[in-house]
Symmetry: C2
């Protein structure tokens, strides 16, 4: 009697992964058709990859997906959210019935993933950022936590055109992040047409390899190949070889359904209701129906960054010449001494932003990000997702390079802190390309952000400390030139809040400034006083949130006459913040001037430029006199 | 008698190039020391490369450096500006004596180059953008002008970490820009420490090669090698082979002066006055002194984009449902029919932004930029520098990816036009990552920008046309959902300006809106009218510039009661623009509400989200009633 051949353990495993992938495809199709929108075909291309990741490779307890030792998954191609949710539900993180709420107003299962969903560390959906976020998390796991956690990032081929991806690739290799795996789903179809390289997986593979990665190309619908590629990370040749791992998978968009597979025109379109049975029929028997589950499984997010003890006052003396950027660097080192969670990343300007003070004090908590601001910001988001308090710094103008990444950091509910140095025309001779003149507009327009703008060494120190304690995106704007210390070390700087530096009961105009222009306002105060005009001088160090109620009181006390003056363009800056706050607070502004930089500045000395662009003491004095004439 | 060996013609050429490089080094050292700031060592590393470019390779008439047939040079590593100016002066574009004004307030020779300087097409100094600008110019020369002009871009190795560079590399290869040469000055020193790859020229060379370039690595101080590498572009094997050319040059920062060469700590520092003679002595005999030249050689820049005939009115009918984004696409095609200079670039969303209408009508003037917004914007700057009127489009939120590039476009005095579609929460189910909610803040804070926000098909058409005629950076904000046509085809939309859609002598509150919220304001008007409350409804389609004087009149006419409502975050948006304008116009705002999106939105239907985030008709009605109570 011949023995009936038994399936091997491997065959059984592959069969079970194939079955899971089939369920993920079915879930993805049904939920998007029900929602009436979404991207099912991009789910179908990646379903086999995700099946192996979730049901074979990744180590996590579905009941505790956010446990410190759990492997992490970043869906960089965020529009495949239905696939992610299907995998999470099929893995048992929440009931499959919850998937029926996809894209509904009340559901945490949004059109693109956010950390409202358990197991999700960062919002994705602006493409090309996930690998950087994953690199930040891998950096944390390897260099700070040292806990063996692996990070898996799934990318689409379309997003490989984003430079941010290649910044991340270089960074991950440089830091030897062999606990990071990138899987590229090369389905060859973008939103509007074929991608630049269509199914040329070899070009992606070579690029990763050139960047210093261990890179293989596979058939992304061959389960044995996927398993082999993912298992390779644990092979003796690869484990801890200091190279991140890239798996470039050739796939078909819409794979598994003949009328979707590799067809143009299906991006971002659910299968019409009438066509759904035909699509599902191709995927084999349906699983038993489940009850819709209307409970929310949203993760509670937010909460403040790691707490740390009160710091002693900084040791600056009144009148001492200190650049706020240097005080920022010193503050980082001071905080780091008592807060082991504080880390910093810089973009090759640590000797200008003074991040280098942290490096000198705690080299293991400083990371050189080189000239790649997008990656720097996303790495910060990754570090924050692991419970650290990251400060990322560069020139204020170069933070604009990462505007989209900061935007996404807010949607990630990240506690990322940013420092932008060299703000405004007061940097002088280097010229406009190096001047941050729109950073307040950019950072104020981030939901929940805190935007602080110190004028002296003491406030720079104390506001850096304040940011390290505050939740959400925080921004510190620092100045290149040295300015005299205005405050005693014991001064408190509540957020929101402002300081009144000059006042009298006879004040006839309020001059509201911050940073370098506060010092111009103080000069103007003296000039005006010599002409018997008394002005109230306000240091609006907390640009956002703004203490509108107290500000209203001060403006009323000066007869509703206000001058704002800022080393920033007029739009979105301190002046607009003030005037909008006053308007909605019901303050009658009797007369106002908004002094701000207009036009395109150029090179010159700081003094020449402050004056030429209308924000020097002379202009404040003239504005006050014209308001009162 | 033995013949004395005579130097060959090649030897003489190399000797003359060596001598020019020596002068460029001397000029760079002297001018930065005199200025007291600047980056001489980065000039010294690239001096030999620039000498060969300017005095051997590039075809241009120094008396007419901006002639249409002249080869172009883009100094991506903008901090080497003193070297550029030295090369231009030594080539005869202006007197060498002019170099003495480097970095002075009155000089066009700024710390980083801008197009104020003849021969400069784009501002540089924010690193990693020059190759994209060069690619845009090369695209124009090859595909539109077809004139054989070659573009040379000099990059530093530090900036190779910027993803933008690799977006450009992929784009240039994809479009077969064999008229583009990138030269990388690998001096191995960044600002604050060694670069990631130090002197590993091979890694850069392989990356270019993998991206589809013809790439060689050379010694950047070997004149014969530099000449050979640059000449290679004209060799039979390379000429018009469809591959851009990369030359990766190993150099020494500070080359030529022993105490600067390859030394850390010299970035961005001029040689101290006392050490200058010692540095110059190493460079050999000084050229005869020249008289300082205080004349300005600034190029006259600005002027409007290419003119084109008046268009007939668009054929929309009142009440017709038209998405402004679709009207934008139709307008592009309409303009292109009469304006051969109109071109468009898109980031793989042409079927969402409706750029595809231009592609369908004039495929040769549409360029697919794939998902690489930074490169897209810089390519636009390059196209504009060649006299085209480029419209670049993607989702409004993804324009934030290129915030720094738009900032630099303004410093370049570019006539770049941007369209951001899918603004605000009204996009619905896709969720916050896809919602443009900070684009008004970003684009308003660009000096000289025009920011237009149409509410219907007719205004979208006419405002697109307006942008195509206006100088400077222009932005059109479009909406995903269809909205009813409000205006007749003959309506005029002056910039600045606004429309009053509802008014009566009894109006007690002004509701100022644009885009989707204008339609909510009209609904609110009807609701309020039913309760005998009359409101003035204003369509503020020109958000910047804002017609402050006329707006003041309207607000005064409604008793100083104002409501602004916008599908944007509160900061830097329409509301702040209005309140700041009113404050500085001396209008007494009696009572005001600013309705804007607050917090982080999520998925839902457009209607749910407009209501949940406080900007629906219901909220406007409630705000009006509370203002009047």
């Amino acid at each position: 009697m011949a023995a009936i051949p038994q399936p091997s353990a491997t065959d059984r495993m592959l069969e079970s992964l194939r079955e899971k992938a089939r369920l993920l495809r079915i879930d993805s199709l049904i939920t998007t058709t029900r929602a009436g929108s979404g991207h099912p075909t991009t789910c179908l291309s990646a379903a086999d990859l995700v099946s192996v990741l979730f049901f074979h490779t990744m180590r996590f307890d579905p009941r505790h997906p956010d446990a410190p030792g759990a492997d992490r998954f970043v869906l960089s191609k965020g529009h495949a959210a239905p696939l992610l949710y299907a995998a999470q539900a099929e893995a048992g993180m929440y009931p499959v019935g919850r998937l029926a709420t996809l894209r509904q107003f009340s559901s945490e299962l949004e059109g693109h993933p956010t950390p409202r969903v358990p197991g999700v560390d960062a919002a994705t959906g602006s493409l090309g950022q996930g690998l950087s976020v994953g690199a930040g998390m891998a950096l944390s796991a390897k260099r700070l936590e040292k806990n063996g956690v692996r990070i898996y990032v799934l990318l689409g081929d379309g997003e490989m055109a984003e430079g941010n991806v290649w910044e991340a690739a270089a960074f991950a290799a440089h830091y030897g992040l062999d606990n990071l795996t990138a899987i590229v789903d090369v389905n060859a179809l973008g939103q509007s047409e074929r991608t630049m390289y269509a199914h040329d997986v070899e070009i992606y593979r070579r690029r990763f390899e050139t960047a210093g990665w261990d890179a293989v190309a596979i058939d992304g619908h061959d389960f044995a190949a996927i398993v082999r590629a993912l298992d390779r990370a644990f092979s003796p040749e690869l484990a801890a070889n200091g190279r991140p791992q890239a798996i470039v998978a050739r796939t078909e968009k819409g794979h598994g359904v003949s009328f979707l597979a590799d067809k143009d025109g299906w991006h971002g379109k659910p299968v019409p209701k009438d066509d759904l049975p035909r699509a599902l029929a191709e995927l084999g028997p349906l699983p038993p129906p489940v009850e819709p589950d209307s409970r929310s499984y949203a993760r509670s997010i937010g909460g403040p960054p790691a707490a740390f003890p009160q710091l002693p006052p900084p040791e600056y003396v009144l009148g001492q010449q200190v650049a706020t950027r240097e005080a920022y660097g010193r503050a980082l080192a001071r905080i780091a001494a008592v807060n082991p969670r504080l880390v910093a990343v810089d973009a090759d300007v640590k000797n200008s932003t003074f991040s280098e003070y942290l490096e000198k004090a705690h080299a293991e908590r400083f990371f050189q990000g080189y000239i790649a601001e997008q990656n720097m910001v996303c790495v910060g988001v990754g570090l924050a997702a692991r419970g650290y308090t990251p400060f990322v710094a560069t020139f204020a103008c170069f933070l604009t390079r990462a505007c989209d990444q900061v935007r996404m950091a807010a949607i990630s509910r990240s506690h990322l802190k940013l420092c932008g140095s060299h703000c405004g025309v007061s940097i002088g001779e280097d010229g406009p390309s190096q001047m941050g003149l729109e950073d307040l507009a950019m950072l104020r327009a981030i939901p929940g952000s805190t935007v602080l703008y110190p004028s002296d060494g003491v406030s720079a120190d104390r506001l850096t400390e304040a940011l390290a304690r505050l939740p959400g995106i925080g921004y510190l704007r620092t100045t290149r030139p040295k300015t005299p210390v205005l405050y005693g070390g014991d001064e408190k700087f509540p957020v929101p809040g402002f300081k009144i530096l000059r006042q009298s009961p006879q004040d006839r105009v309020a001059v509201i400034a911050a940073g370098i222009t506060l010092h111009e306002a103080l000069k103007a105060h003296a000039e005006l006083a010599a002409q018997a005009i008394v002005a109230r001088v306000i240091d609006l160090y907390s640009v956002k949130p703004i203490d509108a109620a107290r500000l209203a009181t001060e403006v009323r006390a000066t007869g509703g006459r206000v001058i704002t003056v800022e080393d920033h363009f007029a739009e979105g800056g301190l002046g607009e913040a003030v005037f909008a706050a006053l308007a909605v607070s019901g303050v009658t502004v009797a007369a106002a001037r908004r002094l701000a930089v207009s036009g395109i500045p150029h090179s010159g000395t700081p003094e020449e430029l402050l004056d030429a662009f209308g924000i020097s003491a002379r202009h404040i004095t003239a504005a006050a006199k014209s308001l009162l004439s």
